[in-house]
Subunit: 435 residues, 2 copies
């Protein structure tokens, strides 16, 4: 009986999930695939560490090459992470004629175009469902389930750590620092949380999802990135008074030009994404046929990510069994149809804004500020002046109608230089609707 | 250059969506598929009716056989609906060597096992993504995206008409009749709404989704079905006071035995499905690896259903191009692995309940009722007696802990025969959590 051999390189948290899923669900997997999907070998530099799943010692090795060179292994699962050795593992696996499954969004965001090209030359598949939104079958939905659509917009909550922190800031009124510390204590954030809180991880995922949606190569360099480290809990509370929820949103939209941006974003409280709490991820997609749909689930974690990795391996195994490697192009569109859609830089983006001005409580201040805004074609939708707290300055809150980012920046430069304004203005972008 | 020819049988609302998607998105489809997907012919008995899309007259015919017999057509899209002629179209198409795409949940729920068997014998594919949850790629997610999981539970809002009616009853306090009339006036409900409001359409979809999830043949006969026609707006309001939202839910759960049921269900107001309003559909799935995920979108309508039909045709076209018909078994599991899991009848289901007793306002009534409940192992979680309205009877509301349906029925028989109870007790089942 035919069987498909799988080797795992990198036995961390997600690796343990992959092992558990492959062992615990082996029967269900074989019933679907028709042949066994067999875990043959696991490589990791540290074989002694305590892990939530155990395997026979004979299955273990410290040398990735033992997997890459094993003739009984057809699929290499790369879970090393990062850009260096992970790339070597994937390259060498492809060069050795192995198919690859990976969860490595950083690597694909940087070098995916090159690696997909190499896989194509060799007639091999690369599965990467787990790289975006963890257990949610987002890549498959975009690439196949919505294949008849022209995708117009993606709005994603793609980083559970950042979403957990913002949820706690909103619900418990914690400061950013305290919410981050809590997330670290609970294991939701790493000791070095930079990639998560600076929006970089979200940008990696958006770059991949955007390429698949719009038929372009992966273009990480064109994603505008702003993290959540500068968010004041005060602005979350005030924005809620206006009816908004704050999320770190990945936004990609095509409208002649392609805009891709990651930044803290206010969305109406009744938007489907507003209720996505804690460590959950969700992606709201608009297609010109399907309308709007949303996919929701755990975007990280041992078992959800393991689910995506192993489901991907099943897909690749079907390619092997049917002799149809690369049956679906990795970026959804045929290689020769990928094109560089012109990028809309952040300065050309139009959206609505929330401002908090640190203005002195003097007559004429509102008039000065609104005068500068008007001069830059920024029109005001709502204003609240928070009561006097016996402080010198009072928070002056404002929601604008749609305005051009470059105009907003010019206006805020002028406003922040007024002598009645004694601190830097807080700015948070708003997306009024899904559209 | 190779091209895939498509014929459409049944040019109604969804048919018009299919035509629009195929024509408007032809470029994007070809860029993904690699070859054109070409609409060759449309058959409908009524060619004169005004439609939202126009095609050359030469493309039209009143004879389905013109499509089934056309050697340039490889994929027949069946959108006739119903059980009679639709089945003939699919059978004859398969017998003529054509692959099939259909949105016909009623037909598949009744005769899917037979039709899938026939397709398999002939080495052909049947796509039916559009049959459950419209534009949402649910079938693909269950069958492929979550292929590494053992699926444990499905909770679905699968009928937009029923959900619209319940949403309006909840939000505007409308009676069932008025909400139904409004839905009909707006085109959300048909002149004969029986399939939608009696839960039958939802049951068709649940039977299909359940088979794919749990590895059984389609078993419509084993779905317990209760519609929303008996729902009193009063119970929706009272249940909201207890913190619940009412939905017509499709529930399938495996726990040694398989339970499949469709009935009005109270879910906690903070459950992800509680916020699914109006004509939207959503499905909440639990897998033993992925945890809980939810897919949300439009479950019906010209363009969303057209999106699913054409995406399915693209999938089938890939099977044709790669010579891999039936690449993935229609019911997710290999034919020889499908098995009849023992069914748990509704009488053996344990769940929580909401009761509204029409009790006389006399001393000792609560004691009598709770005595009978206790005798049948039904323990009470919460009780509210609504104030006296100078009526003879007062609504006595109760939420139970988990209890066995057969015990509940025995208890209510006794209670409804008490002389202090002057009307039939209202019963609504509760699902406390996703699990």
């Amino acid at each position: 009986m035919q069987r498909i051999g799988v080797g795992l390189v990198g036995w961390g948290t997600v690796g343990s999930g992959v092992v558990r899923v492959m062992l615990e669900n082996a029967g269900a997997i074989e019933s679907r695939l028709g042949v066994p999907l067999e875990l043959k070998r696991i490589a990791d530099l540290d074989l002694e560490r305590e892990r939530p799943v155990s395997v026979p010692r004979s299955m273990l090795t410290t040398r990735a090459d033992d997997i890459i060179e094993d003739p009984d292994i057809q699929i290499v699962i790369e879970l090393v992470g990062g850009l260096g050795f992970a790339k070597t593992v994937i390259r060498k696996s492809l060069e050795a004629g192995k198919h690859v499954v990976t969860a490595n969004k950083a690597l694909l965001a940087h070098d995916g175009n090159e690696l997909f090209g190499l896989a194509r030359e060799r007639g091999l598949s690369i599965g990467f469902e787990a790289s975006v939104a963890g257990g949610i079958p987002l890549i498959k939905s975009l690439r196949e389930g919505l294949a008849s659509n022209r995708i117009q917009t993606i709005f994603g909550i793609l980083n559970g750590t950042a979403n957990y922190i913002l949820t706690r800031m909103s619900e418990a009124g914690l400061s950013f620092r305290d919410a981050l510390k809590e997330a670290q204590d609970l294991g939701y954030a790493e000791a070095d949380p930079t990639l998560d809180i600076e929006g970089i991880d979200t940008a990696h995922k958006l770059a991949i999802a955007s390429a698949i949606s719009f038929g372009t190569p992966i273009q990480l360099d064109h994603v505008y990135i702003e993290g959540i480290t500068g968010i004041d809990a005060l602005d979350i509370q005030y924005a809620e008074e206006f009816g908004y929820q704050l999320k770190l949103l990945a936004i990609a939209r095509i409208n002649e030009r392609l805009e891709m941006r990651v930044h803290p974003t206010l969305i109406p409280r009744n938007h489907v994404l507003a209720s996505v709490k804690g460590a959950y991820n969700a992606v709201h997609i608009e297609g010109n046929a399907v309308g709007d749909i949303m996919l929701y689930g755990m975007g990280a974690g041992m078992m959800p990510t393991g689910s995506a990795v192993v489901s991907d391996a099943i897909d690749v195994a079907r390619d092997i069994l049917n002799h149809t490697p690369g049956r679906i192009p990795p970026l959804a569109f045929q290689f020769d149809k990928l094109n560089d859609i012109k990028i809309k830089p952040i300065s050309d983006v139009s959206t609505c804004y929330y401002f908090r001005f640190a203005a002195l409580d003097r007559p004429g201040v509102l008039s000065k500020i609104s005068g500068i805004l008007g001069k830059h074609q920024i029109s005001i939708n709502a204003v609240i002046q928070k009561g006097r707290h016996a402080q010198e300055s009072v928070p002056l809150l404002m929601i604008t109608h749609e305005a051009l980012e470059s105009n907003v920046r010019k206006a805020l430069d002028e406003i922040d230089n007024l002598d009645v304004v004694i601190g830097k203005t807080s700015l948070i972008r708003i997306e009024k609707s899904a559209r």
